[in-house]
C-alpha cells in the first residue's frame, strides 16, 4: 500500500504545532496502524529526522495507551477497536490519512500525538476505588452478587481509560469514562459504602478539570473501543441525584 500521512507535529507542550505530510510506501494491508507508524519512524530516524511521538504500550487493546484521532474518528475507521488493533486493510491504497492527537483542554499535547491524560488519574484518585482492610483473602462466595449486576459491573469495568470518549465528544465530556468507573462499583455491594461520596467527588473533579458537559449525543458510546454503554451515564446521573439528595 502507498499512503500519504498528514501528521500533527508539535515540539513540546508550549510550542504551536503544525501538520507535516509524509509519503509512505510498501505497507502491508495486514500491518497494524501502529506498526505502520513504526515503519515511518524507522525511515525518519534513518533520514536523521525526529521520529513521530505517539502513545502505546500493550498493542493488544487492553492498556488504553494508544490514542490517535485518525481521519476524524478516535481510534480510526474501525468500530470497537483501539488504534493498535486497527489494520491497514481498513484503508484504501493511495489514501491520505490525517492523524491528530486527542483534543481536549484537560488533555494537553505533550509532543506530537502524545497527550497528557493525568486528568483521568485525578478523577480516579477522587473515588474510583473501594477501601478495604488488607489481610488474608476473603472467601469468594461470602458476599453474593446477582448475575445481572455482576455482568453489568464487568461490562463497566472493561473501560481501559483511553479517552476516546472525550476525544469523540463534541463537548470533550468525560461522562462515559466517569460513568463506567462509578458504575463498576455502584453495581456491587462492595461499592455501596462509599457510593455517595464517590460519585459526588468524581463528578466534581471532572468538572474542575475542565471537561465539557454531556449533551447526550452518544458519540462516546459510538467510539468506545470497549463498547461501554451510555446506560452507565444514566446510572451515573441517578447515582449523582441520589447522592445529592441524601447529602
Amino acid at each position: 500500500m502507498k499512503l500519504t500521512l498528514k501528521i500533527w507535529r508539535q515540539k513540546d507542550a508550549k510550542s504551536t504545532g503544525k501538520f507535516v505530510t509524509y509519503p509512505i510506501d510498501n505497507i502491508s494491508p495486514n500491518c497494524s496502524f501502529l506498526e505502520m507508524l513504526d515503519l515511518l519512524n524507522e525511515q525518519l530516524i534513518l533520514q536523521g529526522q525526529d521520529p513521530v511521538v505517539f502513545d502505546h504500550d500493550c498493542r493488544e487493546g487492553i492498556c488504553g495507551m494508544c490514542s490517535l484521532y485518525i481521519n476524524g474518528r478516535p481510534h480510526g475507521p474501525d468500530d470497537a477497536v483501539t488504534a493498535c488493533q486497527l489494520h491497514m486493510r481498513k484503508f484504501k491504497d493511495g489514501e491520505t490519512i490525517i492523524i491528530e492527537p486527542w483534543r481536549a483542554k484537560p488533555f494537553p499535547v505533550i509532543k506530537d500525538l502524545m497527550v497528557d491524560r493525568t486528568a483521568f488519574d485525578k478523577i480516579i484518585q477522587e473515588g474510583g476505588y473501594i477501601s478495604v482492610n488488607t489481610g488474608g483473602s476473603a472467601e469468594a462466595n461470602s458476599i453474593l452478587i446477582n448475575k445481572i449486576n455482576s455482568e453489568l459491573a464487568m461490562d463497566a469495568a472493561a473501560c481501559i481509560g483511553c479517552g476516546a470518549c472525550v476525544a469523540a465528544c463534541k463537548n470533550a465530556s468525560a461522562m462515559l469514562f466517569v460513568s463506567a468507573k462509578v458504575s463498576q462499583f455502584a453495581l456491587l455491594p462492595q461499592g455501596q459504602v462509599e457510593a455517595n461520596e464517590r460519585v459526588k467527588k468524581m463528578v466534581k473533579k471532572m468538572d474542575e478539570l475542565g471537561f465539557g458537559n454531556c449533551t447526550n449525543t452518544y458519540a462516546c458510546e459510538a467510539e468506545c473501543p470497549k463498547l461501554i454503554s451510555r446506560s452507565n451515564i444514566a446510572r451515573l446521573n441517578r447515582e449523582f441525584m441520589v447522592a445529592k439528595v441524601l447529602g
Binding site: N171, G210, T215, A219, I233, L236
Partner: protein, 206 residues
C-alpha cells in the same frame, strides 16, 4: 436542563390545545374564551411566573453549558468528527437559538400586549382581541412561512430533547429505551405539526 425541558414540553401541549381552538369557525369564541381564562385565572397566573422562570433558566443554563463545552476544546480538530451521532443532537444550541428568535417575535406579538407593554388597536370588550391579532398575523404569508420554518426547527430541537431529558434524569432501561425514543420522535412531529396546521388553515383553507 432536563427538568426544565420536560416542564416546557408539557406546557407546549397546553399551548397547542388553546391554539387549536383557532381552527373552529366560530369567529374565535372558543379561542377568546381560552385566552380570557389564561389571562385572568389566578392558578394560571402563578404558573405563568413559573413558566417564564422556566424559559429564562432553560435558555440561560443552555447558553452557559454551551460556552463551557466550547471552552473544553480550545484547539479544534482539523478533520471534522465523523462519529455517528443521532440526527440534530449536535445542533441543540442552534435549533434552540432559532426557537428563541421565535419566542421574541411571539412575545412582541402577544405576550407583551397581554401585559400591556405594547398597545394594540384590536380590542374587544376591553381586552386585546387575540383572535383577530392572530388571524391578522397568519394572513400575512411571510409571517406564516416564518412561523412554519421556526416550528420545524422546534421539532428538531424536541426530537433530541425528549429522549435526552430522560437520559439526563437517569431513566434508561433496555426494555423502555425504544419506547421513550419513539414517543419522543412522535411528540416532536405531532406538536410542531399541530402548530403548523394553524397558519396553513388561515392561509389556504379559511
Amino acid at each position: 436542563m432536563a427538568f426544565l425541558g420536560i416542564f416546557l414540553m408539557i406546557f407546549l401541549v397546553v399551548h397547542l390545545g388553546i391554539n387549536l381552538c383557532l381552527l373552529r369557525s366560530d369567529g374565535g369564541a372558543w379561542f377568546t374564551a381560552a385566552a380570557h381564562f389564561m389571562g385572568t385565572n389566578y392558578v394560571i397566573k402563578v404558573f405563568e411566573v413559573i413558566l417564564m422562570g422556566g424559559f429564562v433558566l432553560h435558555i440561560l443554563i443552555g447558553i452557559i453549558l454551551q460556552i463551557q463545552n466550547w471552552m473544553a476544546r480550545p484547539v479544534r480538530y482539523k478533520v471534522i468528527n465523523k462519529t455517528y451521532t443521532p440526527f440534530m443532537s449536535k445542533y441543540m444550541i442552534y435549533t434552540g437559538g432559532i426557537v428563541l428568535v421565535f419566542l421574541i417575535i411571539h412575545f412582541m406579538n402577544f405576550y407583551f400586549i397581554k401585559l400591556g407593554w405594547i398597545s394594540t388597536t384590536l380590542i374587544s370588550e376591553g381586552e386585546p382581541d387575540f383572535y383577530n391579532i392572530a388571524r391578522a398575523l397568519f394572513m400575512q404569508p411571510f409571517y406564516s412561512l416564518l412561523y412554519i420554518v421556526l416550528f420545524i426547527a422546534l421539532g428538531f430541537h424536541l426530537n433530541h430533547a425528549f429522549q435526552a431529558a430522560w437520559q439526563t434524569l437517569g431513566v434508561n432501561h433496555p426494555q423502555y429505551d425504544n419506547c421513550i425514543h419513539w414517543f419522543g420522535t412522535l411528540y416532536a412531529i405531532i406538536i410542531p405539526l399541530g402548530f403548523i396546521i394553524i397558519p396553513v388553515y388561515f392561509l389556504f383553507i379559511q
